[in-house]
Symmetry: C2
């Protein structure tokens, strides 16, 4: 089988996530969306609003993966330093984009286009704008790096608008089967199942519900036939341990 | 002022976070707790259940920060590979810890102590156990790396038990003032405030509530007097723009 793999990383930029003030809401969204279109999220990082930290992470991640998606730090205030850091990472000037200026002028009006708001038109030279249908100020793409807003509604709208232009690979399909069996009881058979299906990724996630321990088993891979057959073996394994296989996650 | 800074990183280990199946719940908890005791969370990473990725991240983070806290991958199933990867990162053998064996034997009983469950007694040589008051199977500490469970209730209980033995630095204090002013309007004055207080970290976080735009401004630093004085200047700045300063985050 000739499998095509496209990889990505997410870089969350913001002191507020690391201080605990804000609970990140973008990683889970991007993870789900990327995987659903056939892009594999391989790594995520959260860094502070510190130029060296941002530049280093951008350069490491863009070298290691097909795509990098950053969130946060593209507003008008002094702590919004993502665009200039990405310019530094790419070693290009940080310039005022005339299309971005036009968008912001139309949105705010000439009189309200403060110097601070104009900062949101600054992008690395050679960048392509990413549309922001929520609040106008655009994100941008340079090379394989996509710079998105941190505000979840804006981040999502930007990603929805750009995802059509991503190259995608084989989609990772997934089957979940659960059962009220202890992980420590099923582990041996599950490990053997994993050995019989080395191309699949079998994850075990314990839960405690209605006073009983159980686990959800997630089978992932690009080969639908292998997935189907492994899932059937898993159901048999669960039954052999005296439990009933439950399709998907158990209801609360 | 002689400030003492203790730093940390969090390493979340698990395919389920990167596939979008599971929303990480530990980062925000650890961020809040660490900051509250005077340890600064500088970076977080999420990596897959892939040995090379885990080993590389552990080694990079433990070299860069005072402490590293990992979550996930310490259960009994084949996909739980954190302990052996941490052993490899430290280049020490992965051994059966007799104290851990005793704990697990007491918990499960001799008859139910499957080979898989015994895997949870495997730790890097030289590690110290971290107590698990929820479900017994311990975490461990080796060097400056603390290996915690991924299940949120267990992760929290483990952290609560160990936090007393961390060295801590100056606590970062925080004041939040909000106002219904556009970020683009206050940005200039806010940037000047930041310049007058270079030792503080001033963050601006926009919101949209009750049909109006506003922002919360978070001032952070170790110098209580500077913080108080900067907050007072910020209130004056907000008033000068025709808005009323709101203490803390605005109510929904």
């Amino acid at each position: 089988m000739n499998s095509k793999i496209v990889t990505a990383a997410v870089l969350v930029i913001g002191n507020e996530i690391l201080s605990g003030r804000t609970r990140d809401a973008n990683l889970n969204y991007l993870a789900t969306e990327l995987n659903s279109i056939g892009v594999r999220l391989m790594e995520a990082r959260v860094v502070a609003d510190v130029p060296e930290a941002i530049i280093k992470a951008v350069n490491e991640l863009r070298a290691a993966y097909d795509y990098v998606f950053t969130t946060g730090g593209i507003g008008p205030t002094h702590d919004d330093i993502t665009a200039e850091c990405v310019a530094k990472a790419f070693e290009v000037p940080h310039i005022k984009d005339p299309r971005a200026v036009r968008l912001l002028t139309n949105h705010y009006g000439e009189a309200n286009l403060t110097e601070a708001r104009l900062r949101m038109a600054q992008v690395p030279e050679g960048a392509t704008l990413i549309e922001n249908p929520v609040s106008t100020a655009p994100g941008f793409q340079i090379g394989n790096v996509f710079v998105l807003a941190g505000v979840p509604a804006v981040c999502r709208a930007m990603f929805d608008g750009l995802k059509g232009r991503l190259k995608t690979g084989d989609k990772v399909l997934s089957v979940t089967v659960s059962g009220y069996v202890g992980e420590g009881v099923i582990a041996k058979g599950l490990g053997q199942l994993q050995e019989r299906y080395p191309a699949l990724e079998i994850g075990s996630y314990p839960f405690f519900r209605q006073g009983r321990f159980g686990a959800s088993f997630v089978l992932r891979g690009t080969d639908a036939a292998a997935l189907k057959s492994a899932a059937e073996e898993l159901r048999t394994l669960i039954r052999s341990l005296g439990a009933e296989p439950i399709e998907g996650e158990p209801q609360e």
